[in-house]
């Protein structure tokens, strides 16, 4: 008997409504973390069940386990399910398992149920999507089902919240049972399996036959078993001549043999079962060879419009707000180092983080809507063949599209890719999609070097160059994926097999919650790193060795004493930056970037823009000491055009230099936030460092070739 605190695990097939039920049960009382020992994201939450006849309130901790079709994992994430359920010592080992089943497809959903049942963990079956079943002319008799399966069966509607109360009651009752009913196995071991099972049970002190079989089949996935223990199990398998593949197929078939009569008694169909009418009609259009792509193009257009046009209003407001707040703070605090650190370092850093919030929020809301509605699965189908040629998967489309806004949320969306290999490949190439932070750099360099003329009467050459840069990014992403796939060994076979959910209206509450969660995790996780780098950069740009910065300032002031104050201030800022650590660094790396056509000033901008690309334009403005509004592209542009190369006496920003810079920014991974998010998503420094290295080499070599060919 279990009272007070109850641990519950939620399992179910993908698309059975598991996450909807999780949200319905826990509301906002949920958090994300990692399962101990493994690098798989864990969603957990809490809820209370009110007291009934003499018992106290029950406090439930609910853990959402990865969606899976069976307990035999097909991806790395799915191994978590059995790593917990086969190990009673695991901190997340549940007192009760809630199995969510899609009532419209009961036979397949019951496979997982019978497997979990055989493990001997008390369970409750939550029958979801009864409305879909009804629209398919199916009626499900829950009482009949409960009698045959020997567990409580609760009819729920996770979307509306109907039946949630009953489900909680059932969980409480099962947890508080003084005695569990005798376990009825759905799979009875074959005679040749019994010897092996008994030996494993004896060695590992197990009581359950099926858990023993899982030790045999899955021990390599069990983090709680030491290597020598695994080796002993391998020896046992050898001794009994156990054929795992054969067993798995036979077991699954045997389970379905048991399930079939149960389903045919509990589920009655009136007329032909068929998918909902609208799903069939919409699939006719959305998977059509012409209409499918036209619809997809229109959807993309709306997404781009949202990210670039709609997001710009809140972003401008945040930008102005940050600037105003910094200005205000500068005035309030006493002048000095602390003031500069708080305003130019920390507050500017925070501003650099929150400026991305509108784009992340809008993007995640749109992706959530597309996913909830069922459309995303169709996009994956129409793009799979193309993606496969490059070692990717149809599922890679979502992150690549999102990458045009910002690589940070885009990389977060790769979680839906079940193959670890394809997910990693997608993460590695997503930063090549030209993100919105590159747009200001593209804009100014194109304005400097590309004439504002038209070709063929209609096409603006500047627009064509811009389009070309985006296309180059896409080709770079696909090409790199293909190249990387040659070097990174594929450990899991590539599967596509994807359930096409029926079309549904999105649940707006869930869309809002996804938006909130993604923004929160971005601000908290990636934000920390961006902030740290901002502070480091501020220190490097604000301090120089010894007294060098003040000396430089004095020289400027004494040589320009007749000039207007504005010009002096600008020249001072430029001189101070030149003699700061950042400036010294620019000088230091000059030999390295010289072959690309850049001088030390561009070097500083490159260094500064490493925190975030959009810093480039601002830094160029500071370095070239533009007086007045540094945000005004025209002034920066004119100043760049006038800049003379001290060695040749000609223009500094020749077409060769500009194109070299453009190409550099198309390929280079100049973004701390991306590195931070890749670190977070791959759980280590290995992949972000490899990614940084290959993208830097790609950017350097391409920029070198472009400069050398054009100059």
């Amino acid at each position: 008997m279990k009272q007070g605190n109850i641990k519950v695990a939620l399992v179910g097939n993908p698309n059975a409504g598991k996450s909807t039920l999780f949200n319905a049960l826990t509301g906002m009382r949920q958090k994300t973390g990692n399962f101990p020992g493994v690098t798989v994201e864990k969603k957990s939450g809490t809820f209370r069940i009110a007291a009934t006849n003499g018992h106290d309130d029950a406090h439930v901790t609910l853990v959402d386990l990865p969606g899976t079709y069976s307990i035999y994992p097909k991806s790395k994430d799915e191994t978590v399910v059995m790593d917990i359920l086969a190990n009673p010592k695991h901190p997340d080992f549940p007192d009760v398992v809630v199995i969510v089943a899609d009532a419209s497809n009961l036979q397949r959903n019951l496979l997982l149920f019978t497997e979990i049942n055989d493990l001997g963990i008390p369970g409750v079956l939550a029958l979801n999507m009864l409305d879909v079943a009804e629209s398919m002319n199916l009626t499900v008799n829950a009482v009949q089902l409960a009698m045959q399966l020997n567990v409580p069966v609760v009819r729920i509607n996770a979307r509306t919240g109907d039946g949630i109360k009953g489900l909680k009651e059932a969980v409480k009752q099962v947890a508080e049972r003084t005695e569990q009913p005798a376990l009825q196995y759905f799979y009875e071991p074959k005679e040749n399996e019994i010897g092996l099972i008994n030996e494993v049970k004896e060695i590992h002190h197990l009581e359950n036959d099926y858990v023993a079989l899982q030790y045999v089949c899955q021990h390599d996935n069990f983090s709680f078993l030491e290597q020598p223990v695994r080796a002993k199990l391998d020896a046992l398998i050898e001794k009994y001549g156990f054929d795992e593949n054969n067993f798995l197929a036979n077991e699954t078939v045997a389970r379905y043999e048991k399930i079939k009569p149960i389903v045919s008694r509990a589920v009655k169909s009136q007329g032909a079962t068929e998918q909902p009418y609208w799903t069939r009609k919409l699939d006719g259009i959305l998977l059509h060879r012409v209409w499918g792509y036209i619809t997809f193009a229109l959807v993309l257009l709306v997404v781009f419009q949202a990210i670039f046009a709609w997001a710009s209003y809140p972003m401008d407001m945040i930008d102005a707000g940050t600037a105003a707040a910094i200005e205000w703070m500068k005035g309030v605090l006493p002048e000095g180092v602390l003031n500069d650190l708080i305003t130019d370092g920390i507050m500017a850093g925070v501003g650099g983080i929150i400026i991305f919030i509108p784009q992340i929020a809008i993007l995640f809301a749109l992706v959530a809507i597309l996913e909830e509605s069922g459309y995303m699965a169709r996009v994956m189908v129409i793009m799979d063949k193309l993606m496969r040629r490059f070692g990717l998967n149809g599922r890679s489309v979502v992150p690549l599209i999102s990458g045009v806004a910002c690589a940070v949320p885009a990389i977060m969306t790769t979680r839906s890719i079940s193959s670890r290999y394809e997910r990693l490949l997608t993460i590695l190439v997503t930063p090549l999609m030209s993100c919105s932070a590159r747009l200001p750099i593209y804009a100014i360099l194109i304005a400097v070097v590309v004439p504002e003329t038209k070709v063929l009467g209609i096409f603006n050459v500047q627009g064509l160059v811009l389009f070309g840069l985006y296309l180059l990014g896409l080709l770079g992403a696909l090409g790199s994926a293909w190249l990387l796939s040659l070097f990174i060994p594929r450990k899991e076979p590539s599967y596509f097999m994807l359930e096409m959910p029926s079309y549904k209206l999105p649940r707006w509450g869930h869309v809002g919650f996804t938006m909130y969660e993604s923004v929160k995790s971005f601000v908290l996780e990636a934000g920390k790193v961006i902030m740290a780098i901002s502070i480091i950069l501020w220190v490097l740009a604000s301090y120089g060795p010894g007294d060098s910065m003040n000396v430089a300032e004095q020289q400027v002031v004494s040589s320009m004493n007749t000039a207007p104050q504005e010009e002096i201030d600008a020249a001072v800022a430029s001189a101070r930056l030149e003699s700061s650590y950042a400036g010294q660094f620019g000088r230091l790396i000059e030999p390295v970037i010289k072959p690309l056509g850049y001088d030390w000033k561009i070097g500083i901008a490159l260094l500064a823009s490493f925190a975030a690309r959009e810093v480039f334009v601002g830094t160029m403005a500071t370095i070239y000491s533009i007086s007045g509004d540094t945000e005004d592209v025209l002034t920066v542009k004119q100043r760049l055009i006038q800049e003379k190369n001290p060695e040749t006496g000609g223009k500094m920003f020749t077409p060769a230099v500009c194109y070299s810079l453009l190409i550099f920014y198309v390929f280079a991974m100049m973004c701390m936030s991306t590195i931070a998010v890749v670190y977070r998503e791959t759980h280590g420094w290995k992949w972000p460092m490899i990614q940084l290295a290959y993208l830097s080499v790609l950017a350097y070599v391409s920029a070198f070739v472009v400069y050398q060919v054009l100059s």
Binding site: D384, K385, M497
Partner: protein, 82 residues
């Protein structure tokens, strides 16, 4: 369950025309067959080709009237029909 390796010329789900139905007989790939079984593709189950992606691959099949499953042609070629 039958694993037919030699009869590669048998009719499979990848040969279905749009709207055409077939009854699953067996699978020719072990690893894939387990995944397909778990996804509800059982011997004796009726499947119907519902849609073909624009470049001919992947395809979408209706499994037993219950749900729509999308799979690549090489995955579909593993499912032999009666």
């Amino acid at each position: 369950m039958n694993l037919n390796k030699e009869r590669m010329s048998a009719r499979t789900v990848s040969h279905l025309k749009k709207g055409e139905k077939g009854i699953i007989k067996s699978f020719t790939d072990r690893a894939m067959s387990l995944k397909l079984l778990e996804m509800g593709c059982l011997p004796g189950c009726e499947v119907r080709l519902d849609a073909i992606a624009p470049f001919g691959d992947p395809i979408c099949i209706n499994v037993g009237g219950h749900y729509s499953l999308s799979l690549r042609l090489n995955e579909a070629a593993v499912i032999e029909l009666e």
